[in-house]
């Protein structure tokens, strides 16, 4: 196992729509760079790889400076070919005039054992039997494995992946996600992984960095960011449903009493001041439907609401209902297809909902009031 490394990124670049300003440290881990289209994710990868030039900043892997401008120290701009960074492009970018083996051997052409090493890598990706095929003769998943093998051929310390698995079907994707995790562990790579798919992020990532319009909104362990988005923007980017604004009516050690346009809800106790209005959400999975004849055993921990079903959607094995409630809003409820079978859940039906108290999340008011474990402080 290689020693642990740290890639420090501190870059600024003026883009057409906004100014990209990112300070980020990536260790020997998979850091998922998450954000909507056009947030600057690919640009950030290109800056690290040396395919685009920052206006100012510093990029360094431990002691090796890749780029430096308008920062203390002599200016540096190492060309892409000298950075030893593996880059897996969004559409694979395999050389169409070369076979799978020749693609992987591309960076090794001067080495006598280049072909043997390339073949070993293809074998590692379970592709040795396809070594002589051209890219157009391979499936999407196979092409992507060739692309990963090629990116690793020159033994890089950093691996960049730009939405590598989005175009693949679920089974292939899951297998590649496992492969990638194994490779990262085995080779001790610093991995920056761009995606806009949250499931993808959870499947491969250790930490999540949320990028919006060129700025990092939040960086932290995946589950942590998902459970506690720093602000409404992050919640929106993560695709969190049932967002609402509520006013704090009371705050006691037992809990926080919220007023959501006339509906009173209890949330877990936390430090908020009475009278302030907060962005709040409850995940659709945290909303339960109550059986009319069964009393709630832990009634205390639920907020009970009555409403009418206005929409009913079934996707894969999940069913999503939209329920109009008394305060004029709608709540999304999601559950596995066959739960609540005995209940007549159809459009127009009346239902009693339980909003789990622990499921009500209050988003912190200030965008970056918590020190992130990873940020400008160490620059």
């Amino acid at each position: 196992m290689k020693p642990l490394m740290r890639l420090r990124i501190d870059v600024e670049k003026q883009l057409a729509a906004f100014r990209l300003q990112v300070q980020l440290a990536v260790d020997t881990e998979i850091l998922v760079l998450f954000g909507p289209s056009g947030a600057g994710k690919t640009t950030l990868l290109n800056l690290v790889a040396g395919l685009a030039t920052p206006d100012a900043g510093e990029i360094a892997l431990d002691g090796t400076v890749f780029f430096r401008r308008h920062r203390p120290g002599p200016p540096v701009n190492l060309p892409a070919r000298k950075r030893r960074i593996g880059y897996v492009f969004q559409q694979y970018a395999l050389f169409p005039h070369l076979t799978a083996l020749e693609n992987v051997a591309y960076p090794l052409w001067r080495q006598r054992d280049g072909r043997a090493r390339a073949l070993a890598l293809l074998d590692r990706m379970r592709l040795a039997h396809l070594a002589d095929r051209y890219p157009h003769e391979l499936s999407g998943g196979q092409q992507q494995r060739v692309a990963i093998a090629r990116a690793l051929a020159a033994d890089p310390q950093i691996l960049l992946l730009d939405e590598p698995f989005t175009a693949l079907d679920t089974a292939v994707r899951e297998r590649l996600q496992r492969d990638l995790r194994a490779l990262q562990q085995e080779l001790g790579l610093v991995v920056l992984y761009v995606t806009h798919n949250l499931e993808d992020a959870f499947a491969v990532g250790d930490r999540l960095a949320v990028l919006r319009e060129g700025r990092l909104e939040q960086v932290g362990p995946l589950a942590e960011v998902y459970r506690r988005p720093a602000n409404q923007q992050v919640a929106g980017i993560l695709g969190i449903r049932n967002l609402f604004r509520a006013r704090v009516v009371a705050s006691t050690p037992e809990g926080v009493l919220l007023d959501w346009d006339g509906l009173l809800l209890t949330a877990p106790p936390q430090a908020v001041s009475v009278g302030q209005t907060l962005t709040t959400y409850i995940r659709p999975e945290e909303v339960k439907i109550l059986y009319p004849d069964r009393p709630l055993t832990t009634a205390v921990r639920y907020n009970e609401v009555t409403g009418t079903i206005v929409d009913d959607q079934i996707q894969a094995s999940l069913r999503t209902l939209r329920v109009a409630i008394a305060n004029g809003h709608e709540v999304e409820v999601r559950f596995p297809l066959h739960t609540y079978r005995p209940l007549a859940l159809h459009r127009g039906a009346q239902v009693r909902l339980a909003l789990r108290r622990e499921g009500i999340v209050l988003l912190s008011q200030l965008p970056t009031d918590r020190p992130s474990p990873n940020g400008p402080a160490e620059a």
Binding site: P96, H97, P107, H136, N197
Partner: protein
């Protein structure tokens, strides 16, 4: 039959082809891969011989190669009315075709592939040699064929700078003209047949090169076709 015009034409065209490949490729790469002020001006100037009357192109060359020009004064090359002058005239009129076709082929190579090569340790020269040119080779070859064929058929500018000296600077197109003037129709027919067959074969080959016939060419992704925004959120 006097074979001198045929051999001279082949000699002139061979020299023109070498220059067209080198100079034309350099210009095509420069124009396809960089943006600079005055680019349209440069492109227009290169294209000009395509539409100017050959006599006008010939006149410019006459001035450029004649007495008092740097070529004569500094380099001491007396090129006028020699076969190298014919080669120069052929190159100048063939260049627009080479640049235009080769440039389109190079512009069609996905820049992401070149970037991939850079991250894999290739210098700019290696990117060119191992990625760009192999992927653009059909277009480059088509451009070379078209421009060489045009060079082979050059008449007007050649007449002005190289003259029409039988046995010295009389290329095939000029020999056809002379043959018709002196009513040697049999000779004219032979020369016309040779020229037509050569031109036909070259054009036919160039057309085939420009059609993506083999499936391998199909796999070359066009920049616009691959990065479809539809599979994004």
């Amino acid at each position: 039959m006097n074979w001198h015009p045929v051999l001279l034409s082949l000699q002139v065209t061979a020299v023109a082809a070498v220059v067209l490949l080198g100079l034309g490729l350099a210009l095509a790469l420069w124009l396809a891969r960089s943006r600079f002020p005055g680019q349209t001006l440069v492109e227009t100037l290169i294209m000009l011989p395509l539409v100017l009357p050959p006599s006008v192109v010939g006149y410019y060359l006459l001035v450029a190669l004649g007495r008092g020009s740097p070529v004569v004064e500094w380099l001491g090359w007396q090129l006028l009315f020699t076969w190298p002058a014919a080669a120069i005239a052929s190159t100048v009129v063939g260049l627009p075709l080479m640049v235009q076709v080769a440039r389109a082929a190079i512009a069609n190579v996905d820049p992401t592939l070149e970037n991939a090569a850079r991250t894999l340790g290739s210098s700019e020269l290696a990117v060119l040699w191992r990625v760009t040119l192999p992927l653009a080779r059909r277009g480059v070859l088509a451009g070379l064929l078209l421009s060489t064929t045009r060079a082979l058929g050059e008449f007007g500018a050649t007449l002005m700078v190289a003259g029409n000296i039988p046995g010295q600077t009389q290329t095939m197109p000029l020999a056809v003209y002379d043959a018709v003037q002196s009513r040697q129709y049999e000779l004219a027919n032979q020369l016309v047949l040779i020229m037509t067959v050569l031109a036909f074969l070259a054009l036919w080959w160039a057309r085939r090169l420009e059609q993506p016939a083999r499936p391998r060419a199909k796999a070359a992704p066009l920049p616009g076709a691959t990065a479809s925004p539809s599979n994004r959120l």
